[in-house]
Every structure is written in structure tokens, then in C-alpha cells.
Symmetry: C2
Subunit: 337 residues, 2 copies
């Protein structure tokens, strides 16, 4: 039963007074730290209940120098990048892991200049205990910001350039290679690739995997045909590819969205999938299963990506020094190849 508190928001002092102990003891009791007798511990608990006391996180943060929050910043020059269900899954994973460490999640969409400025402030001012950075592009203005950060930073997906100290990534090269090898194993020899943006490491790595597999099989890799990870860009790339190389018999798309776009173009062009052209995607998002025909694709553990990023960050905040992590991918065969 709630009792009217003297103040709208009771403070630790009032709890201490009601419990008949000093503020120090009350504080220790609250954080169940040692050096508090059983009796006082209970008295404090009682007072807390009676007053409906909840510690003020801000004050605690100021005293402990820990905010109790971790930031997840999603870069990209356009906020709509966040509409990709990929991020939602990362968030679910990260959120669960942070919850275990009792950290809150601050989500920063750093698309605009203003947004980036705010992230910079946050990182330099210790507005959180740590940060996870995702979707950085080549020469992303957030890279120097990350270096200036006054807190640990974990990258989700390596940025282009030298690998950072801490990151979690997915085996993009291996996944792309496997996808391409699969197409080749199905007898495809003229396999094109619709790349993702080549100013992202994922985009590059997936093309590398494709090229490696093609070369290893003694086939000619197609030059990179760049899309921007969206469905329309995949459709457009497919159309261009078809015009240039009408004889192609396989396509590896750097993600499912573009794969779905490719399927649409192929359908409209009257090519049968997989009979005339086989298609493989990457990501294994819902769209892959919904596409027509359902898209064979490279599954990446997105949820785990978020979870491991968060865990790594928690370890760092705890003063440990975790090692980078690369998560495995796996081919999921459906009917498009």
C-alpha cells in the first residue's frame, strides 16, 4: 500500500531518517554492500517500501561515474537505412544482452549532420558507458568520433580500413563464397553478382568471397555491379546485367532485398527462376522466405550479432579485454537456386 511521501520523490536521506540510520548505511543497504547489520538492512528495506523510494539514477550516475546506459549508433547518410529489418534484429539481440547487465539502450540514428554532432557529444562527454557502432561507410565521419570517444566502442561489422580493436562481424567472405560455390555446384557458370555498396566493408567482403569462389572454380568473375542494398536497386542492377550479359545463368545478390528485386526483374523479363537463372541472396530476412520463388540465401546470425556486440561492450565496461568475434554464416536453400 503506497503511503504519501513527504516529498513527491523521496530521497535517500528520508529513507535513512525513517529507518533510523545514517545515509551511508542506507546507501550500503540499498546496494547490498557489506558492513550493514541484518537489523538495519531490514529497517532500510522497510523504509524503502513505506516511502515508495526509488533511487535517482542521475545522482547515482554522477557519484559512480557510470551512466547505466549503452549507446547503439546506426550511421548511414539516410535515416531510412534504419528501416532495414536487419537493425531491428540486432536491437533485439543487443537489448537482451544489455538487460542482463542492467544497462539501458540509447539508440542514436546518426544520419543527419546534427545527429552526428550529438553522437560526438555523447561519446566525448561520457553520456553513456559505452557505444556500439554500426553501418559505417568508408571515410565515415563517425570513425574519428569513435576514436575520440571517452568510453569503450564496439563495432558491429568492421568498418572499411584498418580493423578496430573491438568488433563483432559476420563471415561475409565465407558466406559469399559458399553462396557462389553453391551456384557453381548447380552447374551455373555465368554467375553475376549484384554487390552492395562498395563503400561498406560488408559490400566489399561479399564481392571478395564471390570473386574468390569464381576464380577457384576457374570461372570469370563479373565486374562488381553495385546496388545500395534496396529492392529497387537490385531490380535495376538485374536489368542492367540482363542487358549486358543476356547469357547469364546465375546471380548472387549481396542481400535479400536486392535478391528480391532481381527476382522481380527476372520475372518481368520472362526468365524462369531457377530454371533459366538461379538466384542466391544474403541475410535470410523475412523477405527471403516471402519472395517468389522463395530465395535461397546465406543466413547470418543477426540476433547473435547484436547480442555479442552488447556482451563485448559489457565486458569492456567491466574492465576486461575481449577479443574480436566473427560469427559464422550458413546457406539456406529454398527454391531460387
Amino acid at each position: 500500500m503506497a503511503v504519501d511521501a513527504p516529498h513527491p520523490q523521496p530521497t535517500l536521506d528520508e529513507v535513512a531518517e525513517l529507518a533510523g540510520v545514517s545515509r551511508s548505511v542506507a546507501s550500503r543497504a540499498l546496494n547490498n554492500a557489506p558492513h550493514v547489520s541484518r537489523a538495519k538492512r531490514e529497517a532500510v528495506a522497510r523504509a524503502v517500501r513505506q516511502l515508495g523510494y526509488v533511487p535517482n539514477p542521475t545522482a547515482r550516475a554522477l557519484a559512480t561515474r557510470h551512466t547505466g546506459a549503452a549507446a547503439l549508433v546506426v550511421a548511414g547518410e539516410d535515416p531510412s537505412i534504419f528501416a532495414d529489418p536487419f537493425f531491428a534484429q540486432v536491437i533485439v539481440g543487443a537489448s537482451a544482452a544489455l538487460e542482463e547487465a542492467d544497462l539501458h539502450l540509447m539508440l542514436c540514428l546518426a544520419a543527419s549532420d546534427r545527429g552526428r554532432k550529438r553522437v560526438e557529444r555523447l561519446l566525448r562527454a561520457k553520456g553513456a558507458d559505452g557505444a556500439m557502432l554500426m553501418a559505417l561507410r568508408e571515410d565515415d565521419p563517425l570513425v574519428p568520433v569513435a576514436e575520440q570517444a571517452k568510453m569503450p566502442v564496439v563495432f558491429g561489422g568492421r568498418p572499411v580500413g584498418p580493423a578496430p580493436r573491438w568488433y563483432v562481424d559476420v563471415d561475409n567472405v565465407g558466406g559469399a563464397r559458399e553462396a557462389t560455390e553453391y551456384l557453381i555446384s548447380r552447374g551455373r557458370t555465368r554467375v553475376a553478382m549484384i554487390c552492395g555498396r562498395l563503400d561498406t566493408e560488408a559490400g566489399r567482403a561479399r564481392y571478395r568471397g564471390y570473386r574468390d569462389a569464381m576464380l577457384a572454380a576457374g570461372l570469370d568473375p563479373f565486374p562488381p555491379r553495385e546496388g545500395d542494398f534496396t529492392e529497387p536497386s537490385g531490380a535495376a542492377a538485374m536489368a542492367a546485367l540482363l542487358a549486358e550479359r543476356p547469357d547469364l545463368d546465375g546471380v548472387f545478390a549481396a542481400n535479400d532485398n536486392m535478391g528480391a528485386g532481381a527476382l522481380r526483374t527476372l520475372r518481368e523479363a520472362g526468365r524462369r527462376v531457377p530454371d533459366d537463372v538461379s538466384v542466391v541472396g544474403f541475410d535470410d530476412l523475412a523477405v527471403a522466405g516471402l519472395a517468389d520463388p522463395p530465395l535461397t540465401t546465406v543466413h547470418q546470425p543477426i540476433n547473435a550479432l547484436g547480442r555479442e556486440m552488447a556482451r563485448m561492450l559489457v565486458a569492456l565496461v567491466d574492465g576486461q579485454d575481449p577479443t574480436p568475434l566473427i560469427l559464422p554464416t550458413r546457406l539456406v536453400t529454398r527454391s531460387s537456386a
Copy 2:
């Protein structure tokens, strides 16, 4: 050029000292408050630059009693509800509006018991300046929590039961009515509905709109056939419906996911869409355009929903008293009906 600061993290005191002013003046200069001469203002600015000073948000929060953050909490008993791209769009809208008010976004996925506990703490302890609540179900444990909140709370979508003081919602009834009327106008007379969860207000309202339209046209509304807003549940509901009423010629699905599921079942059952059966969805998410055939659906302004929620919250934090808002929907015709 960065200069080594005396402390790893310079404080306002050091800035003041370097600028040769008192801390009060430095503080005022920083927040460009009045009563600071031009000269000192500049001196402070110079010192800030020289020291690379960034104010500590926590200390500021403690002093001002404003955290500078707003919480967006997504209820639901299963974290995977968040995978619905709907939320990503809300976030993009809310994030942009919060950015304008210079508030950070804390994202709380309150699916687990533990998660709810943390939300409760956050709301009762003033861990943020305000909160936006979404996806509450009937008798959601978060409703009482919201009432105890020591901060303004805006609801995204009315919860079941009495309307809260502040909310932003979409015209679910009107949208559903329009969708149903459209089906009827296309000559459909045996129109079934695949409802969303009826323990949500959106689920109920959309069924109400459907029923209203049917009755107004002198047709018999089907009893509610409940799904849970996912694609498989839509497919299952469609199968059940087909078994029960093989003669149906129209289906209104309470969202696009279920609409897509219905399309799949219809295709597998050999029914032609829209020739044999017309289908209309709700949401106008990407899946609607990607479905086969592309889904006619009720567009709801999801981005605006997030934006307006955030704006309303900002107004409340500023001490204003905004009025609830209901956003209009609009029918988007594609080829499924």
C-alpha cells in the same frame, strides 16, 4: 589542434580558471544565458576550445533535474514483436522529432518480466524526461506502471480501455471501413476478415470498422477470425476461413503480414487473386508492395505516428498540454483488390 588537458576530462572549473572567470559566469556563457559580458563570453569560448571541454551531461542532469532523454517502450510479451518493421518506422519518426528538441532516445523492449521491472524503475525514478508507450495489450502490466510514472507519458495507439490523457493514434476504424467499402464497391459480398489480436485496441478497432461497413451495406459481417499479426497466422486463418466458407470472395486482413499470408494460402489453394477472391491489407509496409500480387492496403502514416508522439512528448516536457491526435489513413490500391 587538441591540447593535452590537465585532466582526462576537463571540468567547468578548469574552463573558468583558464578563462579567468568564476564558474557561474562560465556556466552562463556555456548555456548562453544573459548577464555575461561579451569579453568573458569569448574568453570562455576560447578556454572551452583550448581544453576540448565537453559538459558532463550527468552532472547537468542532476542540477537541472532534466535527463535529456525520452524513453520509447515497446510492450508485448515476446521480443520478436519488435521485428515488425512497423516499429523501425516509428523510431525513425520519433528519433527525428526528438533530435529537434535535443533529446536522446532510450529504447526499452519490455517483453520479459525483467524488462518490465526495469521500465517501471525508469518511469518511477525519473530516469528520463518522458516516455512513449506502444503495443500495450489488454490488461497490460505496463498500464499501472504508466500511471505511476513520475513523468509525462504519451501512448502510441490507444490501449484497450479508457483512453489515456495523451496519445497519438491512427484512424483504425476509418481505415478498416474504407478498405471494406472498397471491397464491397468491387462487387464483393462475402467478405471475411482476418483480425489482428483482439486484446489490442488496433485489432478491435479494425474489426469494428469492417463490421460497420458490412452492416451499412446490408451485408453479414463474418465473425472475427483472429490472427496475431504475423504472416503464418494470416496464412492459417485464411486456410480455416476457406474451409469454413469456401464461397467467400473477399478478405480484409488487419495488417499486411497477415494479408501476405492470406495471399500465400489462396495461391496454394488455387484461388486467383483478385479474380476469385479480393484481398486488402493494412499498414502499407514494404511487404505489401512485394507480395504477389501486390497488396491493396490501407496506408497509415507510421513515420508521422512516431514523429507526433515525440512532438507531443516534447510539448508535455515543456509544460504545455497538447491534445490527443488521430492520424488519417488512406487506401492504396494495388492489384490484389
